[in-house]
């Protein structure tokens, strides 16, 4: 009897303490604004998506997405606290509130979306498994790879995708398996295999490690779906909307021809779509708890989607990855953002 009473008292006293985190964590925007920085979980080292340059700055597509969120939420793209995360640690870090948003080359899959307590907000980069071959092989399509020796990395989904693809197309191959991207590109360069297979974004990064990058070409076939995008914790719809629309704002800006270079001129545009985007007409920021000029700040300080793509992985970078699936819907790609209105 006595024990039960103490136990009851203990639970009564402890209960509020246990409740506090859940309620306090819900309002991410308030926390971000109080802290005056967005904590963004990124990859410590992923060429083109998140890496450190000579001047201690993070560069990459994923990190620019973080900057866009900071520009929208705080009006200053530099107010990002980048938290480098390991691939096993990333989900726990998001759940525990260590980071406000996870932008770390994370593939959007049903199991991650439904079981890990997180919501994907969109797709910042459509990746997929591809093949790289030596140019002097003269291969034009992956369908011609029957009997080839293929280098892959162990323990990734690439191995599985590879065997599926060759079986479906009634082809055979010899797998040469390596542990790391460095080893597999070294094996490819040394002629251990004819073909290197991995996610396209990684293949382009491996390609420029070759003594002569022009000796290899990436084939056009993409054999798996790897949509990469930012993710937030479940249970905070306002923050979910902010992250989602930060990405959409960049896509809409590209579609409307508003870029980092011309955004100030576009302020006086009389295109109603541009006026709505830049906050000249209506107040779409307020509905999310943001300033009217939230999208203007994104484009001004970070750029539109084409700006960040070209700078980090596209023509303005060392990788020179063609837009492909990541082109806008009207240019033959599948990047499509709902309109701002």
């Amino acid at each position: 009897m006595n024990t039960t009473r103490w136990l009851g008292l203990g639970i009564t006293l402890l209960a509020p303490a246990l409740w506090v985190p859940a309620t306090a964590m819900a309002d991410t925007l308030e926390n971000v604004q109080a802290r005056d920085s967005v904590r963004c979980g990124v990859n410590a080292a992923q060429p083109g998506f998140s890496s450190l340059d000579d001047n201690d700055q993070y560069r990459g597509l994923d990190t620019d997405v973080c900057r866009a969120i900071a520009a929208a939420a705080l009006g200053d793209a530099s107010k990002v606290n980048f938290v480098p995360l390991d691939s096993v640690e990333r989900f726990a870090a998001l759940q525990s509130g260590e980071v406000d948003v996870l932008s770390r080359t994370t593939t959007w899959t049903s199991s991650r979306d439904t079981t890990l307590g997180m919501n994907f907000t969109g797709v910042s980069y459509y990746d997929g498994q591809a093949f790289m071959v030596a140019s002097d092989l003269g291969v034009q399509s992956a369908k011609e790879l029957d009997g080839a020796a293929v280098c892959t990395q162990s323990g990734t989904t690439s191995e599985l995708n590879l065997s599926d693809y060759f079986r479906i197309n009634n082809m055979t191959y010899d797998a040469v398996v390596f542990d790391s991207p460095e080893q597999s590109i070294a094996g490819f360069e040394a002629g251990r295999c004819d073909v290197l297979s991995s996610d396209a974004s990684q293949l382009y990064a491996q390609r420029i490690q070759l003594a002569d990058p022009n000796m290899a070409v990436v084939l056009p076939e993409i054999i798996s779906k790897e949509p990469l995008g930012p993710a937030v914790r479940q249970g905070d719809d306002q923050w979910f909307n902010i992250v989602k629309w930060s990405l959409f704002a960049m896509l809409n800006a590209e579609e409307l021809g508003v870029s980092q270079a011309n955004v100030d001129e576009q302020l006086s545009s009389d295109n109603p779509d541009v006026m709505r985007l830049l906050g000249q007409d209506g107040d779409f920021g307020e509905a999310m708890g943001l300033q009217t000029d939230w999208a203007y700040q994104i484009v001004k300080q970070v750029g539109n989607y084409a700006d960040i793509y070209d700078r980090n992985v596209g023509t303005g970078s060392d990788f020179k990855i063609a837009r492909g699936l990541n082109a806008l819907w009207k240019d033959g790609g599948i990047q499509y953002a709902p309109p701002i209105r």
Binding site: P47, L52, D56, D86, E89, A93, G97, E182, A205
Partner: protein, 366 residues
């Protein structure tokens, strides 16, 4: 019989039995089998050393700022050069690096002062190093006082972070380890069982788990407005983990002291702490130097594991630099640099411990 002849002058030993030639003959070429093995050994050495020297020195590129300055025939030390400040200070803002430099300078001069026996005032320097220096370093590195801008710990990294983790781990683990070792030998049941449980728990889990729990699980239990700094969490985890190992090393030393020593001290009327502090521990710690340094060196290398919780130690920052598209493909140079830095520190520790052993040698060696 009387010899008329004068004694033959003493002559030097034949050149075949002294000097380098004799050494070669007795050690490397004393027989056909050894000769063959020597030649094979020399050939293997030749195969290894020549390309290494060519790669690392002769064909290497030293000056420049971008990857285009590297011919790619040998090592591209330009990469290390361009990134050196990042490798040493992590993401520490370049305008504030002087603060880190002061701490580095104080750190190495204090260590030097304590390590070189000729220099005086050891006791005061030690007190300064253990009490004043940590405060000064914190104020300088973290800032926030005296108009120094704050540098949050997530910007600390590189060699600075490695040394910080290792030093705090060592300085923290040794006293905790001593207390735990004494506690484990204690007759008081609560103290003893606490120490046993503590040591066995921390020794029973891998360091990665400790760091992972500290970094990822802890925030789940704490209210969200209360956050403990990542680095502090890693430091606490590392120190507790190492102190469990240290405790067992020291307990090994304590076991080796004959029971008569303590009984004699007790017979002189010494209290427990006097017996331990004046009789037992000085003898035990001296014998434990190899074990303690072993633990220190493994701790120094274990600090690289903080990489998995997103802290950029020396190895972590090198790996991060390898992903920069401007420097892709220079992983060999990066890893060689990291290995060299680790070797320098671990080797110095090991040499100093050997020196210390010789200095404290009082005939206990068997």
């Amino acid at each position: 019989m009387i010899h008329n002849q004068t004694m033959i002058e003493q002559r030097p030993a034949p050149s075949s039995s002294v000097g380098a030639v004799a050494w070669l003959r007795t050690n490397l070429f004393n027989g056909p089998i050894n000769t063959i093995f020597t030649l094979i050994g020399l050939y293997i050495l030749y195969l290894l050393v020549v390309p290494t020297v060519q790669w690392a020195f002769i064909n290497a590129d030293w000056v420049g700022t971008t990857r285009d300055d590297c011919s790619r025939e040998g090592a591209c030390w330009v990469f290390i050069n361009a990134r050196l400040s990042q490798f040493i200070y992590g993401l520490y803002p370049s305008s504030e690096i002087w603060r880190a430099n002061i701490v580095f300078a104080m750190f190495f001069s204090l260590i030097g002062w304590l390590a070189i026996p000729r220099l005086p005032f050891k006791r005061w320097v030690a007190i300064f190093a253990l009490i004043v220096f940590p405060v000064i370093s914190f104020v300088l590195l973290y800032g926030g006082y005296f108009d120094l801008p704050k540098v949050p710990t997530h910007r600390w990294g590189g060699l600075m972070l490695t040394l910080l983790l290792a030093t705090v781990g060592m300085v923290g683990a040794l006293p905790i380890g001593i207390v735990l070792a004494l506690g484990r030998r204690s007759n008081m049941p609560i103290v003893k069982s606490f120490c046993v449980v503590f040591i066995e728990f921390w020794r029973g889990v891998p360091l990665i788990t400790v760091l992972f729990m500290a970094s990822v699980m802890l925030p789940l239990f704490l209210p969200s407005d209360m956050s403990v700094d990542r680095l502090v969490r890693a430091l606490i985890g590392l120190t507790l983990f190492q102190s469990a190992y240290m405790a067992e090393v020291i307990r090994g030393g304590l076991q080796a002291i004959p029971k008569g020593q303590e009984e004699a001290a007790a017979a002189l009327g010494m209290t427990y702490w006097k017996r331990m502090g004046l009789i037992i521990l000085p003898q035990a710690l001296k014998m434990m130097i190899p074990g303690i340094v072993n633990t220190f060196i493994s701790l120094f290398k274990d600090t690289t594991l903080v990489m998995i919780i997103g802290l950029f130690d020396l190895l972590g920052i090198v790996q991060a630099a390898l992903a920069d598209s401007r420097w892709l493909g220079f992983s060999l140079e990066g890893y060689v640099f990291a290995a060299f830095m680790f070797w320098v520190f671990c080797f110095s520790m090991s040499r100093y411990s050997q020196y210390l052993e010789r200095k404290l040698h009082t005939g206990h060696k068997r």
